[in-house]
Amino acid sequence: MTEIEVQNLTKTYRVGEVEVHALRGVNLKIERGEFVAIVGPSGSGKSTLFHILGGLTPPTSGTVLLDGRDLIKMSEADRTRLRKTTVGFVFQKYNLLPTLTGADNIEIARDIAGTKKNGPDPQFEEILKLLGIASRLKHKPRALSGGEQQRIAIARALVNHPALLLADEPTGNLDTENSNAVLSILQGLNKRLGQTILMITHDPEAAAYADRTVTMRDGRVV
């Protein structure tokens, strides 16, 4: 079953008086439960695709079907709803809220989505077990290592059971040991729980953890 279907997707930014064609007709299909890595040099359009699929910016033209809904027809409020319920983000810089503990960083995602915990959530309990962060949840980000922060960020991204997990260079700030651990976790989430994952990376070794690699160059999939 297709999770994401992108057809002739374009995105044009305006920087001052200059138009920047970040995406020039991207076509891409990702099946439900797939783990796909997107690789490509800087300026190839990976991040722009990531932002569009995550509902952070609207496309200029084309079709982007995500979980059956067309992003091109979505209003700002629709995209906000999409981020709450359908997409989970993992960023290179972890992006945890520094004033909250690990547990609260996860909880605030629930609060924003309006899915307050009512009783046990076995699937999320399993995710937490897989992430191995139970003993670190009471700490604030400044007291956590990069690997621990990224694992909490993954937990936060998955707490609302999104259809798609978008990971932007999730190992970019980690050493080899932690990188391998995080990638193994992503792979485990995909294999054991069937989580659809789209990961952007520069690193071919990281991309090797995915089922499939998509290469982008000059705003197109090649």
């Binding site: 981020r83 319920t85 989505a113």
Partner: protein, 361 residues
């Protein structure tokens, strides 16, 4: 959860939070002190008027508000004394030195008989023409003791300190004052004591017939004039001070929240990535603002006890009342100023582009 985020955000920058709270506290205390002093001064004046022991007060025709002029012939006092039910009448002479100081000339025996007597706490009563007595509040404020001299349009020697609460803070012999200020035979006010206070209304009506152009009030009616509503400039001044106070609160909160929004640009991006709506983000800032305003109001109320102590030490003649009936009003004023101050930073945060915010370092 959002409340924990709000609380942690405020805790994260303790100095900024503290300064904001203090600034709102100053705003609150400014208003409460002004209102408290206005009321305190008027209540004090009313209490001292009642301290004369009189039932009726007669002022010259050209008197305005609760001020006194010097255009009443002393012979009017004799006329008043002849009226039925009048047991005592005494004229006083009020010489205004400036807005805050005056000196009151009295017939000591008559005044003592009517008021129950000025109680000398230190020194002795005035005897010579250039001697005065001052009450303990005035003495404390001006560091006076028996034997000191003070300049009130004339150099006076303080012969004694009397207990406060009777008519004035400074007393001299009426004849000496009339001569010194070239107002022989003139008085400012006549205080009238009746055989029975129950006769006040009837005697007042009779006196009004005898002295039709004079301002004649029962002492109760007269002291009722000592309210903020009866003094238009106090109300106007209060409004101006409230305006300035609100402006201070607005500017401080606006600046504080603006810097918070700038500092938290990335965090706002994170919240947006998690699906937080503009309303949710504005809600966080508004909750922080409300918490600052409430804490600032409490601090401001507590600071008011400090300003009262300062007033009692450095300006004892301007007593400050604590005004609990203003607490809710001042909380509303502080809250409104703070919320308006947080609006622009809040809207700026809500409009923040998520991608730019996430890229912010």
């Amino acid at each position: 959860m959002i409340h924990r985020l709000v609380f942690e955000n405020l805790k994260h920058r303790p100095v900024r939070t503290l300064l904001s709270v203090i600034a709102i506290g100053v705003e609150v205390t400014l208003i409460l002190t002004l209102v408290g002093v206005s009321r305190g001064v008027l209540s004090d004046m009313a209490a001292r008027s009642k301290g004369t022991g009189a039932d009726i007060l007669i002022r010259p025709p050209d008197s305005a508000g609760f001020t006194f002029s010097l255009t009443m012939n002393e012979k009017v006092v004799d006329k008043v004394r002849t009226q039925p039910h009048v047991t005592m009448a005494t004229g006083t002479f009020v010489k205004y030195i400036d807005s805050f100081n005056s000196i009151t000339g009295i017939h000591l025996d008559e005044f003592n008989a009517m008021s129950g007597g000025l109680k000398v706490k230190k020194g002795r009563m005035f005897q010579a023409p250039d001697e005065i007595v001052v009450d303990d509040v005035y003495a404390q404020q001006h560091h006076l003791k028996p034997g000191s001299t003070t300049d009130l349009a004339h150099t006076w020697t303080v012969s004694g300190i009397v207990e406060e609460g009777k008519l004035s803070r400074t007393f001299g012999d009426i004849t000496a004052l009339q001569q010194l200020f070239e107002a022989r035979g003139l008085v400012s006010t006549i205080y009238v004591k009746l055989d029975d206070p129950a006769n006040t209304a009837a005697v007042k009506d009779e006196l009004q017939k005898v002295l039709p152009t004079y301002k004649i009030d029962s002492i109760e009616d007269f002291v009722s004039l000592f309210s903020v509503n009866s003094v238009p400039y106090i109300e106007a001044f209060t409004r101006v001070v409230i305006g300035i106070a609100v402006l201070i609160g607005f500017l401080v909160v606006c600046l504080s929240m603006y810097t918070a929004v700038l500092e938290r640009t990335r965090e706002i991006g994170i919240l947006k990535a998690l699906g937080a709506s503009p309303f949710y983000i504005v809600g966080i800032l508004m909750r922080e603002t409300v918490l600052l305003a409430i804490t600032g109001t409490v601090v401001g109320i507590l600071m008011t006890y400090g300003t009262r102590a300062l007033m009692a030490t450095f300006a004892a003649s301007m007593p400050q009342e604590i005004v609990p009936d203003w607490y809710l009003r001042v909380a509303g004023i502080a809250l409104a100023g703070s919320i308006v101050g947080a609006l622009y930073p809040g809207l700026r945060a809500a409009r923040q582009d998520a991608i730019e915010a996430l890229a912010y370092d």
